[in-house]
Symmetry: C2
Amino acid sequence: MKPEPRLNMVTLGVADVENARRFYETGLGWKASPASQGNIVFFQLGAMVLALYPREALAEDADVDAEGQGFSGITLAYNVRAKEEVAAFLSVAEAAGGKIVKRAEAVFWGGQSGYFADLDGHLWEVAWNPHFALNERGEVVLP
Amino acid sequence: MKPEPRLNMVTLGVADVENARRFYETGLGWKASPASQGNIVFFQLGAMVLALYPREALAEDADVDAEGQGFSGITLAYNVRAKEEVAAFLSVAEAAGGKIVKRAEAVFWGGQSGYFADLDGHLWEVAWNPHFALNERGEVVLP
């Protein structure tokens, strides 16, 4: 079997599913799917899916210990079409209860970038990258 | 500004970029983009991008402390088209040097699922979900 290059879903372990849902749904304005049920919430983010699930249950599902702290070693990124949108998105995230971890600033690779943490500390980079154009669906298509 | 629902890139912090690249490129058979350079490697995974970057540098980019251990609180998922592909993908990942964290098994929601950890412990679920059909591009489209 040769795995096709894809990633279908990112699941964020959260302390409180309703709070986390509110951050993404009311705060960022992303609509939860009717497929959401009980303690799992799904968002269709373009071609992929973001899920929110209790952190303990997620660890249990993977058969790993739920203990963990500090830097997760993973970041999620949202690419914007215009430089000004980096700060604008960070403001939306902050108003929703997120924490701005790094304000929008020019970065060495020629773009503009900032970071926010959601209610559970999951890190999102918001980036404007002049080298990676977005297609009409808002997707980064690499060379 | 109303953020469009999307997630463009997932970046995995890794101990050794070349080793991590070998796992995904030679092991899983995913082709690194020519946009990769120096210590950052990009893979086009369908509509989104997976990046590998040194863990310390990733923390520095986000302006957070690189210390962290245990469960990251995030899982990535790859959905397959047929039940048998769950175990098959796990075998490919294991042969590539990954660790099977949970063998393929039937799960309470009616599908089949297992988990592997890549060389840096990032958790991937491989799932067959009869409720979430994949479209022709291998994308999960929620109700």
